[in-house]
């Protein structure tokens, strides 16, 4: 028995030191086509920024380089997302995946590919509350908060605006339904009234019928839990055209420059929110993003940087790029105690970990992983004035 233990220990040492310099691949699976295609380029750029930073430092696992491999999750087609994740693992041989983006495809990737293959996935943007309780074998994390939290934030904002009743429309999928339920429950808890919560299908040419039903139910404002490149904008267009609603609340993916470009002054006085912080980390990240030529304020871009950074830091802490080994380290590097790590300090973090120290990764989105490995949640509240998007505050 003792001999066997010794042998195992020796083997472990050998395999640990076998983590010699090489090329580690990280999958970046986001919806480069589909309903949030206008957001994903900035998200991927965020992840690739972290990858480039680590690669250049040469400090990861005895000087390994890291390469990002992009794959298309399509955001809505679970079959396509699963196939793309399969490809990342079997033919690209990635050691971790930043993704998926939308909740439905992320759940499918987790259950059909990540769990059977023992692959670590960190999603920067899947926010469905259902993912908190999904079986994940300790492989799934997210730098985005669950919508259970966003529901509270939105209910607070609506209440502060003095709205007594609101109508909710959501994109007909896991994400939309989860968020709508959460907003509804929280707004009612705060004494508000939800006149209707109706789903809308994406990809239609005309949403006047859907808006007709929403208008019939009435309400002081309309919450549009949808996608800006899809039905969400169609709903807003029809609501404005028929004069059914002129005040809106836009969660998550609706908050984008596209929205301002499409509706300009017509949505003045409306509000929106998306995950984000005013932490020093966010400002640092935005500066780094600008130097690289992409928009670091774009939704989920900071979260993507953090997702990629966490995977690589966990690898360093475990001394291995094997998902089975580093998966248990993700929570450890993300949370206190330890030296606080800002974006741009990944090389320093890698060195501390190598020397056996502990870090508390703060990163671009003030990461704090709670419960089943998801972000505690910081939100940016925005409003629209004179056809421009203005940040109100952070919650």
């Amino acid at each position: 028995m003792r001999k066997m233990l010794l042998a195992t220990a020796a083997l472990a040492v050998v395999s640990a030191s076998a983590a010699f310099a090489g090329e580690i691949k990280l999958g970046i699976e986001l919806g480069f086509t589909g309903p949030i295609e206008s957001l994903t380029p900035n998200m991927a750029a965020g992840a690739e920024l972290a990858i480039a930073e680590v690669s250049k430092s040469g400090a990861l696992l005895n000087g390994s380089t890291v390469k990002g491999v992009r794959a298309d999750s399509t955001c809505i087609d679970s079959g396509a997302a699963t196939a793309a994740a399969e490809r990342l693992i079997t033919s690209e041989k990635v050691s971790g995946i930043v993704g998926g983006d939308c909740s439905g495809v992320t759940g499918a990737m987790l259950q059909n590919v990540a769990r059977p293959n023992g692959m670590v996935m960190i999603s920067p943007s899947a926010t469905s509350p259902a993912l908190s309780t999904a079986k994940d074998d300790g492989l799934f994390f997210r730098t985005a908060p669950s919508d259970a939290r966003q529901g509270e934030v939105i209910a607070d904002i609506l209440k502060e605006q003095g709205y007594k009743s609101v109508a909710i429309t959501y994109t007909n999928n896991d994400y939309g339904k989860g968020l709508a339920d959460s907003i509804k429950a929280n707004f009612i808890k705060r004494g508000g009234k939800v006149t209707i919560d109706a789903a809308h299908e994406d990809g239609k040419g005309d949403y006047s019928a859907e808006v007709g039903a929403l208008a019939a139910a009435g309400g002081d404002a309309l919450v549009v839990a949808g996608y800006v490149d899809q039905g969400g904008s169609g709903i807003v267009r029809a609501a404005l055209d028929t004069g059914a609603f002129d005040k809106f609340h836009f969660p998550d993916g609706m908050v984008s420059d596209k929205l301002v470009e499409k509706f300009g002054k017509e949505i003045d006085g409306s509000f929106g929110d998306n995950p984000g912080t005013d932490s020093p980390g966010a400002a640092l990240f935005q500066k780094m993003a600008k130097a690289k030529g992409f928009d670091g304020t774009s939704p989920f871009s900071a979260e993507s940087y953090d997702a990629a950074a966490l995977i690589m830091l966990a690898m360093q802490a475990a001394g291995s790029s094997d998902p089975a080994k580093y998966k248990s380290k993700v929570m450890q590097v993300a949370n206190a105690p330890g030296t606080k790590i800002m974006p741009g300090e990944l090389a320093k973090a890698l060195k501390i970990l190598k020397d056996g120290g502990d870090i508390d990764y703060v990163g671009a989105s003030a990461v704090e992983l709670i419960g089943p490995g998801e972000s505690a949640g910081n939100y940016r509240e925005v409003t629209f004035k004179n056809g421009k998007m203005v940040v109100v505050k952070y919650r």
Partner: protein, 337 residues
């Protein structure tokens, strides 16, 4: 009294005005289908994608004009680009006729073979449009958006409810009236139109009396291209342009043509409005309208909605099936299927 007016305004805003505009767009589309059926005797499945193609050309021309600074504000530039769209589409459908349908006419193929051939043409058109302009939504509407906005209407009338009429809805209606009037004048008053109707009624007799069939076919394709381009452009201006939604329009357009009686132009127009009004009113939530009309204590809690808006296409399907079961020739006498 004020309540009744309010109820009427709500109804007009959400049902009457949108259904009238949508109905006109469907009617123009269904006219194209019915003409092909009447003269060439087959159901043209490629019609939706012909619309998408025509509209695409109009959009490209509109963009070019916008860049060149051409404008007829407050009217949308797309109206100016229409002739270009019609011309290019006419050339393309004539080419498909040359390449595909003429062969089947020569061998006197059965109608079902024509239908399958048109399905093939549909897929090619489908791909062509996506290849040139992409599958995404395109915006090309410019000029004024509204004839009257909901807010102005409230202000003007002092009513509690507003009614918005979009410029695109007004243009749709006027254009549809002009196009239909021109078409009927052509069919009933001109020599060519009469020869076409003769050809449609009895091909053999028409041939005997010296009507050139290839000329009839040529003209019908040009008319169909014009109708498809106009219908598609109006739909795109009023709603949005996306190739896939044009493909989806095929169902309500066929339903309209069949309900009215295939091969009967007047029926296609009536069918278009039957379909649009049923689609819109069956899926509309009448809560607000009812609340105005009944005493307060009777006001409904529910939405008073027969079917969720998700079932919009089911309405066209149901009407289609009912008509085929009980009156296969349609409301106006058309050919039975």
């Amino acid at each position: 009294m004020v309540d009744i007016l309010n109820a009427l305004v709500v109804l007009a805003n959400f049902v009457l005005v949108p259904a009238l505009a949508y109905g006109s767009q469907l009617a123009l589309g269904a006219l194209g289908i019915t003409l092909i059926y009447g003269i060439l005797r087959f159901s043209n499945f490629a019609h939706g994608d012909t619309m998408a193609f025509g509209t695409m050309i109009v959009i490209l021309a509109t963009w070019w004009m916008q860049k060149a600074g051409v404008s007829i504000a407050p009217l949308p530039t797309a109206l100016l680009a229409l002739p270009i769209g019609i011309a290019v589409t006419a050339i393309v459908v004539l080419l498909t006729d040359r390449a595909v349908y003429r062969f089947y006419r020569k061998v006197k193929a059965a109608p079902i073979i024509f239908v399958m051939a048109s399905l093939g043409v549909m897929f090619i058109m489908n791909g062509l449009v996506r290849f040139i302009i992409g599958p995404k939504e395109q915006t090309f509407a410019d000029g004024a958006r509204f004839i009257i906005t909901a807010r102005d209407f409230k202000h003007m009338t002092g009513l509690h409810e507003g009614m918005a009429i979009k410029l695109s809805q007004g243009i749709t209606l006027i254009t549809a009236v002009i196009v239909v009037a021109a078409l009927f004048w052509f069919l009933n008053r001109t020599r060519t139109g009469k020869s076409m109707r003769a050809f449609s009624d009895n091909e053999d007799l028409a041939l005997l009396s010296g009507i050139n069939p290839e000329r009839v076919v040529l003209i019908i394709w040009i008319i169909v291209a014009a109708l498809a381009t106009i219908a598609g452009t109006l739909y795109g201006l009023d709603k949005s342009y996306k190739p896939f939604t044009y493909f989806q329009l095929l169902l309500p357009m066929f339903a309209a043509a069949i309900v009215g009686g295939l091969g009967n132009p007047l029926g296609a127009i009536a069918g278009g409005f039957v379909i649009s009004f049923s689609e819109v009113s069956v899926t509309y939530a009448f809560k607000r309208v009812v609340t105005y009309l009944v005493p307060d204590s009777w006001a409904p809690d529910g939405l008073v909605q027969l079917l969720s808006t998700d079932y919009k296409f089911a309405v066209s399907f149901s009407i289609l099936i009912l008509v085929l079961l009980f009156r296969p020739t349609g409301i106006f006498k058309g050919q039975s299927l």
